[in-house]
Symmetry: C2
Subunit: 366 residues, 2 copies
């Protein structure tokens, strides 16, 4: 068995996994369908009450004129950028070097849409107003991801966000929100989703991050924008005859969890505080600004894994199922607080983190 | 209420709809999940036992080395053609003028992949060997749809198909099968799916036609081909974190219905025979070669609708929910035989068709 598999196996055997809301099993869909009448008719190629009602509900929630349900954010966001590029007849956008489109989509934006991406800021920090103001490139659209997932879920000050938005509007640059974790940042900003979205021309949100649904995304904006997005959805092969398994689960878990974002955020701050007390362990951000953060260790994956496995076995607490190396003597994992955190036995969690502290100290000079 | 809506409404109120296997409601998914354990883990971005097992099962069934599950055929087929065009460095394919890619996909092949399509044959007839042999264009791939859905579900002789396949292989032209209704043609050809697929380099099949699943498709071929298709699936936004609602339903209804294709085909021939006895009504093909055919009337939609509605109300038999105009005095609808046909009270069906015959005669000179 490979080392990373044994960590995954040990994690699966824990009684108290720390992150998320539930494991990704078929039970999640069963729970949804128990609350839906069998005679409810499917959506049909993007039409029908089932999909139209949910789209209208999300448009209202996001304060946008119109919203379209997509099978994935990958599809929704490429399409959003394509529409803005076509409108300006300029196939060029800007985004962060760790943007989902840059690192997780096999270059779909370039290969399918022939759109060039200008990278703003660098991997370790957020895009700042000055990056946007000093940009030499002419672009059709700027994409901002809130929070910036790949560097731990960081956020700019709200005032800076407003300034970036005003600058873009002034310069005729469309502003698109990668809001995969939009719900999760409303407590920190103390703003509604609609208030945040009002700074953007187009918005994508996801239903399987904090919401914990099965899959699916919404793309929202003016009707003139969303109407064109439906044409591109058809072209991408995303205009399925039935999207209802995803729509029903998005709706169900949205209702269940959207009001828990304060609880998740508070939990994340508490948990990061505890983790930061451990020797050789730090979180980014130090104090989370959403339900998520990254946990960094000054140990290699190979050194850390046996320590974690012994902690899991001794306490039943599962901190992570994987570790990602960031250097010869460093690695990290991502943690998102969901329903599970509130149900953890805190004495067990403290015991696990004390063990981690002790073991990190004991191996400090190894 | 618009006339076409009143036909739809009247159809919905009938006790005995003639075509298909069931109505598209959430119950179809509930039925699937009743047979699945809740603890079964989701597929994850195209990996995991759930998706890999089904893909392997379908590869075997189709006699191909490898198979990939896609959310839609639109996505799968564009990608298949793209791979063959890239391999030959020639962005040009050939297909029928009524090909799904030409008329139902908002020109995705052209807009996303910049592939030019050469149209073979004409709308009213199939692609023949001579069309392929005499083609002046240099192409990377020829797509054949079996059966040709948009002209009633017609098929070439199997010998002609073999000759086309041999010609393409000889000329270095890849042959792709649009097998959305592949299961449905195995009884007429008296060949297994794998035998038919052996004539093709790549094959797409659908799970919501004769199989009656919720959505989803398989693309099959050599491993070198399917591996690249996964990269394009990611680019298209089709590599969802969870495709299991579609995979489980495809698997469930495949097992339930794949062996019923002879029954559906026999039913279609019987039903077309009865329909062709009605005055002013003809089917294309005259004798079906699969479970589907088109029903043509020498009446306008406006003339025919009230006749159909009165027949529905009098007999409870629902022939169609819509009519599509083909001229000033002609219209048609598509009929696919599924589970429902075997459960119809035949006396009621005969009564309905006798009424249709009488009403068509009575209005013959109107």
């Amino acid at each position: 068995m490979r080392a990373d598999q044994s960590l995954l196996e040990a994690f699966r055997l824990t009684t108290f996994p720390v992150g998320g809301s539930s494991s990704r099993t078929v039970q999640e869909l069963k729970d949804v369908l128990e609350h839906v009448e069998g005679k409810l008719g499917s959506d049909t190629y993007g039409t029908g009450k089932l999909i139209e009602d949910f789209q209208a509900q999300m448009a209202t929630y996001l304060g946008k004129e119109s919203a379209v349900f997509f099978p994935s954010g990958t599809m929704a966001q490429q399409i959003a950028l394509r529409i803005w590029c076509d409108q300006k007849k300029l196939p060029k956008v800007a985004y962060h070097p760790l943007c989902h489109l840059e690192i997780h989509e096999q270059d779909g934006l370039k290969e399918l849409h022939h759109i060039e991406a200008h990278l703003l800021a660098d991997k370790n920090r957020l895009i700042r107003l000055e990056d946007v103001v000093n940009m030499q490139e002419d672009i059709a659209c700027l994409l901002l991801e809130l929070p910036q997932r790949e560097n731990g879920g960081q956020l700019p000050d709200y005032e800076e966000l407003e300034k970036i938005s005003a600058f873009c509007r002034d310069k005729g640059i469309k502003l698109h929100l990668d809001g995969a974790r939009l719900f999760e940042i409303t407590p920190y900003y103390q703003k509604s989703a609609a208030e945040i979205c009002s700074l953007f021309d187009s918005v994508y949100i996801s239903f399987y991050k904090g919401i914990g649904g099965i899959a699916g995304a919404i793309l929202a904006g003016d009707s003139s924008f969303t109407e064109i997005s439906k044409v591109w959805k058809r072209r991408h092969g995303g205009d399925l005859i039935s999207l209802y398994p995803y729509i029903l689960s998005s709706d169900y878990y949205f209702k269940q969890r959207v009001d828990k974002m304060v609880q998740y955020y508070t939990g994340a701050k508490e948990l990061a505080g505890l983790i930061n007390q451990c020797h050789g362990v730090t979180t980014i951000p130090t104090e989370p600004v959403s339900n998520m953060f990254h946990v960094h260790f000054d140990r290699s994956v190979e050194e850390l894994e046996p320590l974690l496995i012994s902690i899991y076995e001794e306490t039943g607490i599962g901190l992570t199922s994987y570790l990602r190396s960031t250097g010869e003597k460093s690695c990290y994992y991502e943690l998102s607080v969901g329903d599970r955190y509130a149900k953890l036995p805190m004495d067990k969690l403290r015991e696990a983190l004390q063990l981690l502290d002790t073991k990190m100290k004991m191996t400090a000079n190894s």
